[in-house]
């Protein structure tokens, strides 16, 4: 039985009220209930560690954020900062945590001449893109979707095919205002010594190194209350116009300056050669290999419609696996119309040489300039997660894809959706020096197969297994840091990055107060899937580093263990009927 029923104390609640005013703080369960990310069916088992907060508080500015954090410090209350709360990992893990909902802080300021937007933590991508285009600029909307908070996304993921030309998120962060877990306010980049956040480096050794790695901390090192980010010059005389509505809403492309091309490639080698050559010639705005299932999804108007085609086409897809992948290229005439014509002729020349065949291509976009369809990833089967989404070289992408496919097909399909030999999604990044690789899996969350066998369990196990195979094959993975099994990755990468990673976090969060714990996934596995520790050969982080003893100071200072925080119904979950 869970022992922790502790609410936020009256004194702490009053203190929060005094900061933001009574209408901006609540402990009503009708509201707090919904501050657990995604309900039961969203990503996976790792949501099991998440709890409704004791209190939700909505500050309106940096000063209020600082004061709230100081209250949390004083009363030893763990807190979770959330922007749009689109990322599942933002959810809090202890029942008396304070959810600091930053949605009101949607400020948006500009330095148009220097292509800088300065955003608050509640700001999302589509208003930013709309306002940017009014000013002759544009931004990169991530695959996560327009609904992702700009700051939250820049601190965690922010991947898109446009990374090819525009670079990784970590390089697009400029000056930053940051409330540390102890409530101290610091500023990075040029904001450290002036009021202008237009430049991000330093001063001296660059503290942006502590904002994120390949992925981020998900709120474990405090709260960013303002971020200046790089914008890019719009190559059109005016903003792109929306057309169609509903599921078909999209931005129309003036195809003299921005144009898509879909090529059917005769082989994997042809795909590889084309991608390399396009990058070497420095043409393009995006270059990617698109998974076959997406073509089917794109053409379907309902889930039933999708399955009526996907299932029967299995043999056809398997037989033509090498040729069923599409190389999708976006060209932009950044300098002029002539540039697009030039790049098109180079592109066609390359494709001629490798045997790529141009197919019909719609000149519009609903995914990358103003992403509106990311929620559609959940549409075919209901359960979806990317077990991998890593940037490394192109060969690594191919290799990782083969590794994960072999694992998926041999151990996890069914219940995962069979994609008939799909090796994943590849996008060139950093002008071809690297490529982004994503491996997406889907399952039916309603299929009641029980503990260890259900789609939810198998998806999660696939995720754990993917970290094991990354280690065994010397492959890089997104699943390092707080989105990983720390007991697995902590000793392996670096090696021993886990030790300094945890230490450097503690250096700014000595109370373990900012969205703890670091090793959530180890704990969830310990509780719900302990057999994987043996199957994949690891100890949990707590066992490795703390002799199995509870280490979060916000818990230990109260004599609480994490196990005590999990509500009763979690244990019943695997046995109960679903649907």
């Amino acid at each position: 039985m869970p022992k922790v029923t502790e609410k936020v104390s009256k004194a702490a609640y009053n203190a929060l009220q005094n900061i933001v005013g009574p209408e901006w703080v609540t402990d009503d369960v009708a509201i707090t209930e919904s501050y657990v990310k995604g309900g039961e069916i969203h990503d996976c088992i790792y949501q099991r560690g998440q709890q409704p907060p004791g209190v939700v508080v909505m500050p309106n500015n940096t000063e209020e954020v600082q004061k709230i954090v100081k209250v949390c410090m004083r009363y030893h209350l763990p807190y979770t900062p959330i922007g749009a709360f689109w990322g599942v990992h933002c959810g809090g893990k202890v029942p008396f945590h304070v959810s600091i909902d930053l949605s009101r802080m949607r400020s948006l300021e500009w330095d148009e001449k220097h292509m800088v937007a300065i955003v608050g933590p509640g700001q999302i991508h589509s208003p930013l893109q709309a306002e940017a285009q009014e000013r002759g600029l544009y931004t990169m909307t991530p695959g996560g979707g327009s609904q992702a908070a700009v700051i939250g996304n820049m601190l965690t993921c922010n991947y898109s095919p446009l990374n090819y030309r525009l670079g990784l998120a970590t390089r697009r962060i400029l000056g930053v205002e940051w409330v540390l877990p102890n409530g101290e306010l610091i500023r990075l980049g040029s904001l450290a010594t002036s009021d202008d956040p237009y430049w991000g480096e330093g001063p001296g050794p660059d503290l942006r190194g502590l904002l994120r790695g390949y992925l981020g901390w998900w709120g474990k090192v405090g709260i960013i209350t303002k971020m200046a980010i790089k914008m890019h010059p719009l190559f059109l005389p005016e903003r792109m116009k929306p057309v169609e509505r509903g599921m078909l809403s999209t931005l129309e492309f003036p195809d003299n300056r921005i144009k898509w091309y879909n090529f059917r490639m005769p082989s994997e080698d042809a795909m590889r050669d084309a991608m390399r050559e396009i990058s070497r010639c420095e043409i393009g705005a995006a270059v990617m290999r698109v998974p076959t299932i997406w073509r089917y999804r794109g053409k379907s108007r309902s889930r039933e419609d999708f399955w009526s085609k996907w299932g029967p086409d299995e043999k056809k897809i398997r037989d033509s696996r090498a040729t069923s992948s599409v190389c999708r290229v976006l060209l932009i005439g950044y300098t002029s119309e002539e540039q697009l014509k030039y790049e098109e002729s180079v592109l066609m020349g390359i494709m001629d040489e490798v045997g790529g065949e141009l197919g019909r291509t719609k000149q519009s976009d609903q995914s990358w300039i103003k992403n509106a369809d990311s929620a559609g990833m959940w549409w075919p089967a209901g359960g979806y997660v990317s077990v991998e989404f890593v940037v490394e070289t192109l060969e690594h992408s191919f290799a990782r894809g083969k590794t994960l496919l072999a694992e998926k097909e041999s151990k996890f399909t069914p219940p995962l959706v069979d994609e008939y030999g799909e090796e994943g999604w590849i996008q060139m990044t950093d002008m071809g020096h690297t490529s982004y690789f994503e491996f997406l899996i889907q399952w039916d969350p309603e299929h009641p197969l029980g503990k260890y066998e259900s789609g939810e369990y198998k998806a999660w196990e696939h995720w754990v297994a993917s970290q094991r195979t990354a280690i065994d094959h010397g492959q890089f993975t997104a699943n390092i840091g707080s989105l990983s099994v720390m007991g697995l990755t902590g000793p392996a990468f670096g090696p021993n990055y886990g030790v300094i990673y945890d230490k450097v976090r503690q250096a700014v969060d000595p109370l373990d107060i900012s969205n703890p714990p670091l090793d959530l996934h180890d704990r969830v596995i310990d509780e719900f899937a302990p057999k994987w520790k043996e199957d994949y050969d690891f100890q949990t982080w707590t066992d490795l580093m703390h002799d199995g003893k509870e280490w979060w100071k916000v818990l230990t200072s109260r004599g609480i263990e994490w196990k005590d925080c999990l509500p009763e119904w979690y244990w019943d979950r695997d046995d109960k009927e679903i649907g």
Partner: protein, 425 residues
């Protein structure tokens, strides 16, 4: 077994579990996001923040159904501080297959059954039950607006509705004039409140009684067509009545038409012509119940199989998802475009993501602050697009806009489209 349109909360476990908090229920369609000012589609969220939006309500519904929560001081407000405008439903359905409207209606009904609803709603409910109109006024005053062109018998019934009958008489009078030019009409003998406010507030049993009475009266007329100038009545007759009868709109023995559809058709055929010249820059406001909420209802029954695929029961075809995009949007736009001297401006939030005026769902009665916020927002939006006037097609929208304009003097004129049509004729 899934029965389309069920009012039982437990029948929406799929929706409540599958909601992934993508917040499409809160934000405008991102493709159409116009700027950083007019970003929300949900007035409840815009006013109250926290999770006072569909995703929050679905999670509450899930907790109630799974018996993890019982009650709380804020639970009633969480459920009823919602205009039931349907914008969240079309937002969600841009990408997914969740029935958000149905879920929220079921949640509301669940609270009503438990007796947990705003006490301020009771007066309106009692008014409808006792006096058959929402205002509590004498039934005999329903036709005091003087229907000049009404006939004793016609194939077209003009269902006036409480709003136009008792308060916005100009709407009724204008419609009377219009229908007079289109061959005339008859009134529904013993017309009662269509029941829309009861439905919107979650009182489905009381609604059922209104429905039965009106359907009976309509059947007696033998008319083939029911026309209304009220968006709420339109949606109720077209969508809610067949739904509660477990029939489709197409199964009704009569056609349900909004006055704008009739006029648009007549203009197209040359049966009507605009002579008068108006002189204004106006913004057309899509009423929720004329637009996204009024797509024809198609009844469906079946089951959900693997991958969540819906399998129709015998006698049914594939389920139709009403995504809000096929509502009655173009007829009023066509009409306004045909008027001389009128510059028609589009709100930034239009069509299926039109911003609710705030006059729906029992909100003006129980949460006047939310109603005021919603209408002020819309009038600010009108000014932002350069409009001198706001035009809509629902007496309740008109009342809301007039109230907002009067209270805070936005300097925006307010019209119902029937008034402009009548003037232009």
């Amino acid at each position: 077994m899934i029965v389309e349109g069920s009012l039982e909360l437990k029948d929406y476990m799929y929706e409540m579990r599958r909601c992934m908090r993508c917040a499409s229920c809160k934000w405008l369609d991102h493709i159409y996001m116009p700027d950083n000012r007019f970003v929300y589609r949900c007035p409840s969220y815009g006013k109250y923040y926290f999770s006072k939006v569909a995703y929050g309500r679905l999670k509450l519904g899930l907790a109630l159904t799974e018996d993890r929560l019982k009650d709380s001081p804020g639970m009633k407000d969480m459920v009823f501080q919602c205009l039931m405008c349907g914008s969240c439903d079309s937002g969600c359905k841009r990408n997914l297959d969740l029935e958000i409207n149905y879920s929220l209606e079921a949640l509301r009904g669940h609270m009503v059954q438990d007796g947990r609803y705003p006490k301020q709603h009771q007066k309106l409910i009692d008014n409808v039950v006792k006096t058959k109109n929402r205002y509590g006024l004498p039934a005999k005053e329903r036709t005091a607006w003087k229907p000049a062109k009404a006939k004793k018998k016609s194939d077209t019934v003009y269902f006036v509705g409480c709003g136009a009958s008792y308060k916005e008489n100009k709407v009724a009078q204008a419609t009377d004039k219009i229908l007079g030019k289109l061959g005339g009409y008859m009134l529904l003998p013993g017309e009662q409140c269509c029941g829309h406010p009861l439905f919107a507030m979650g009182h489905y049993d009381a609604f059922q009684k209104q429905m039965e009475a009106n359907l009976k009266a309509m059947a007696k007329t033998g008319a083939k067509r029911l026309v209304t100038a009220c968006a709420e009545c339109y949606k109720t007759w077209k969508v809610d009545y067949p739904r509660l009868m477990k029939k489709s709109t197409s199964d009704l023995p009569f056609e349900v038409v909004h006055i704008t559809e009739l006029v648009d058709e007549a203009l197209g055929k040359g049966e009507l012509e605009f002579k008068g010249k108006l002189d204004m820059k106006l913004a057309w406001h899509d009423p929720c119940n004329l637009g996204r909420m009024s797509e024809p209802y198609t009844h469906w029954e079946g089951d959900r199989g693997q991958w969540g695929c819906l399998e129709p029961s015998e006698g049914f075809e594939a389920k139709q998802f009403n995504r809000g995009t096929a509502g009655t949007y173009e007829p009023p736009r066509n009409i306004l475009a045909a008027m001389q001297g009128v510059e028609v401006l589009e709100f930034k939030r239009h069509h299926e993501f039109s911003w609710c005026c705030g006059g729906h769902g029992g909100v003006p009665e129980a949460y006047p602050d939310l109603a005021a916020y919603a209408v002020d927002e819309r009038l600010e939006e009108a000014k932002a697009v350069g409009a001198e006037a706001v035009v809509s097609a629902c007496p309740y929208c008109k009342q809301q806009f007039e109230a907002g304009q009067k209270k805070r003097d936005h300097q925006v004129q307010v019209f119902d489209i029937t008034e402009l049509i009548a003037q232009a004729l």
